[in-house]
């Protein structure tokens, strides 16, 4: 039976991870590490999922502080009270604020390493991102980390640094890393919030012109696939790095995604793509973060190899869903939520 410590339950993927955990019989307890406004978050989670059973407890803390802001005694107790840590919390804003990104994405990992050092039985399952591949064009395998890539933003950089810290640590053999590609809501249902790749879709659905490449491919996965892969692998004791991506064959051209996003918003035509080199005047007329996001993500990036995850997930009965089967409805739902104010 697993005793689980979960961070980031109030994130797009974290909420789905919690849902998966609640459905498992081999979970003895789940402790959610929540920020100080935890009651509000719990209420939102209960609305989205179900009233929390007794096996779910919460602990208020600040992941960005040393020992998560807990006293030495509480920290020692925390270290010895769990078998599995699932770290989904992250600052996902694709800006250039490296300091903030490191604080939110790198410091908690240092704390986790300390917890792992204190409890030799504890294993960590860390939610990273396939976009640690940064500016690399070409293959990115689950065995890669430093390929000489550069980074588009502080989020990519800090997630890369977090992975590097975990790999370099003495506890690396007890750490499993998950790298999802662009994550959206559930394949057939809503989503806890509109994080992940939703801002990119919102930009695609609203804009007439964007800096991008219509021929480039975008790799989307639904959050429930990511969550079920994480939970199943975590509970089966898997280690290593896993790409949770739909793969080149199933990824969609930017042109197709732009059309999908536009249709969901009731527009007949998708945003037109302008090459990066010619698109700079658009920056003057648009939200600079959305512009930078589009410029970085709507051009061809790395091709994610899924060798390891395919091999590990097939025996568990988890298969990558093709975006064609779920993406259109997911985008439509997101668009409706956006129009109605979102969560």
């Amino acid at each position: 039976m697993n005793r689980i410590l979960l961070t980031g339950a109030a994130s797009l993927t974290g909420a789905e991870v919690l849902r998966e955990l609640l459905h498992r019989r081999d979970v003895e307890s789940i402790c959610l590490l929540l920020p100080s406004d935890g009651a509000k978050t719990m209420a939102a989670l209960e609305t989205y999922l179900e009233p929390m059973p007794e096996l779910v407890t919460t602990l208020s803390c600040d992941l960005r502080l040393e020992r998560f802001g807990l006293s030495s005694r509480s920290w020692d107790e925390l270290a010895s009270s769990f078998d599995l840590g699932i770290h989904c919390a992250q600052r996902e804003i694709a800006d250039q604020d490296v300091e903030l990104a490191r604080k939110a994405n790198l410091l908690p990992v240092a704390n986790w390493i300390d917890l792992l050092n204190r409890n030799a039985k504890l294993r960590l399952h860390h939610l990273s991102t396939a976009f640690i591949g940064g500016t690399r064009r070409g293959l990115l395998t689950e065995f890669d980390l430093d390929c000489g890539q550069r980074f588009h933003n502080a989020w990519e950089r800090s997630k890369f640094e977090a992975e590097a810290a975990l790999r370099a640590s003495a506890v690396a053999d007890r750490v499993t890393v998950y790298r999802p590609s662009h994550t959206l809501g559930r394949s057939f249902g809503g989503s806890f919030n509109l994080g992940g790749a939703f801002p990119l879709l919102a930009t695609l659905s609203a804009a007439s012109f964007l800096p991008g490449d219509a021929r480039a491919r975008i790799d989307f996965v639904p959050a429930d696939y990511v969550a079920s892969a994480i939970v199943s692998l975590a509970c089966s004791g898997a280690t290593g790095t896993f790409h949770l991506a739909c793969g080149w064959e199933d990824s969609l051209p930017v042109r197709t995604v732009a059309a999908l996003a536009a249709r969901a918003r009731g527009r007949s035509r998708g945003a037109r793509m302008l090459p990066r080199a010619l698109a700079w005047p658009l920056r003057l007329a648009s939200n600079s973060l959305a512009f930078a996001n589009a410029r970085d993500l709507l051009n061809q990036g790395p091709v994610f190899d899924t060798f390891r995850s395919d091999r590990a997930l097939a025996p568990l009965g988890i298969y990558r869903p093709s975006p064609e089967s779920w993406l259109a409805s997911s985008v439509r739902r997101a668009s409706q939520e956006l129009r109605s104010g979102g969560r």
Partner: protein, 380 residues
């Protein structure tokens, strides 16, 4: 005679290739491993010239796509400029290339039926089919990859007559392993210094590394792939980028046979890996993987290569191929450089005028030129 194009090597079948001089480079298992590990938009077609009764007379794979590193042999500035162009103007600027030959070959040629008389006729037909397939897949360049010097010169002339510009490609390295034992190899094949160097490597390894050979190595892939990947990422010339699946398919191959030599530290950490292909005539040290974080990575490289040579000698094989890189150590191991040619045809009017320049640039890759560099202590 007629031409045909197949989408998979399985459609063509292993038996139909048996009468051809396919060697290790065009062996069924090697091509299937490559086919099953293509990534991105890269695709393959297998072109044949067949007699009326369906006998395959000539055969070659053609790989088409824009994710082939076609300019790996060109100056660094051109490679960087090309990457910047694609990054700023998009995939529309990526050059689509058709590469004729095996993407993972150590040397290339056009495999033909042994003893077939009308080779020229078959080659002409095949070249026409290559042209058709290249156009069908909108290739801007067609490259006949690494035609080895042993391939008949008059047939290379036919390729040039079909509009291909010929330049040097990276030479391949052949080792004569027709010796009764490794000791005899060291004594008779290598210079005094080389001999001393080889023996010293094994002495240095004692108590530090162990080497073992694994036939069924599929389960080892996850452990050794990072080492092979490290070598690829560090390589000066990055050609085909192979995913882990390639190694799995190689492990499963029976034609060619394959094995893995691994180098471990005394605490069981794998720090080196050498994947070998072999049949009953020759051997290839196909891919090497090194843990560069280990202080003795140079020693690991040498040990793996010497072990590869030992394996070929033990099997009684007369020829070992060491591939197209790292010429300085490979000549020290006893290898000899052999010329290969790259034949390029541009279908794009912008690229056409660049061919004479490419030809000039690639003249540096002649075996004689590289050998001269090695002797001056300035290998390529």
């Amino acid at each position: 005679m007629r031409t045909k194009a197949y989408e998979s090597i399985d459609d063509l079948g292993r038996e139909r290739l048996e009468g051809l001089d396919i060697g290790l480079d065009f062996s069924f298992g090697a091509l299937r491993a490559m086919e099953r590990s293509l990534w991105g938009e890269l695709l393959v077609r297998y072109l044949t010239v067949e007699s009326d009764d369906g006998t395959v007379l000539a055969f070659t794979p053609v790989y088409a796509g824009s994710n082939l590193n076609f300019n790996a042999l060109l100056p660094r500035a051109i490679q960087t400029g090309y990457d910047a162009l694609v990054a700023s103007l998009g995939m529309a600027m990526a050059t689509r290339v058709a590469v004729v030959g095996s993407l993972i070959s150590d040397r290339g040629w056009i495999p033909m039926l042994r003893g077939f008389a009308d080779r020229a006729g078959a080659l002409r037909l095949l070249l026409r089919e290559i042209e058709r397939v290249a156009k069908q897949h909108k290739a801007q360049l067609t490259m006949l990859k690494d035609i080895h010097r042993d391939f008949p010169a008059e047939e290379r002339a036919l390729m040039r007559a079909a509009g291909f510009t010929e330049g040097f490609s990276l030479p391949t390295v052949r080792v004569n392993t027709a010796y009764a034992s490794f000791d005899e190899y060291l004594t008779r094949h290598m210079s005094k210094n080389g001999r001393k160097h080889a023996r010293k490597q094994f002495v240095k390894a004692e108590g530090t590394f162990t080497l073992r050979v694994i036939d069924d190595f599929e389960e080892m892939i996850a452990r050794v792939f990072p080492l092979h990947r490290a070598v690829f990422l560090k390589a000066k010339y990055q050609f085909e980028e192979l995913p882990p699946r390639f190694f799995v398919e190689c492990a499963r191959s029976t034609s060619p046979k394959s094995e893995l030599v691994i180098c471990e530290t005394m605490d069981g950490r794998i720090v080196g890996s050498l994947m070998i292909f072999y049949d009953d005539r020759e051997q290839q040290n196909k891919r090497i993987g090194i843990d560069y974080s280990h202080a003795e990575s140079g020693l690991i490289y040498n040990l793996l290569n010497y072990t590869g040579i030992q394996r070929a000698i033990t099997r009684g094989l007369g020829t070992l191929w060491l591939g197209q890189s790292s010429y300085l150590p490979k000549t020290r191991f006893g290898g000899e450089l052999e010329d290969q040619y790259l034949l390029i045809k541009a279908h794009d009017p912008v690229l056409k005028p660049t061919l004479p320049l490419q030809r000039w640039w690639m003249s540096r890759y002649s075996a004689a030129n590289i050998q001269a560099g090695i002797e001056k202590g300035m290998p390529l």
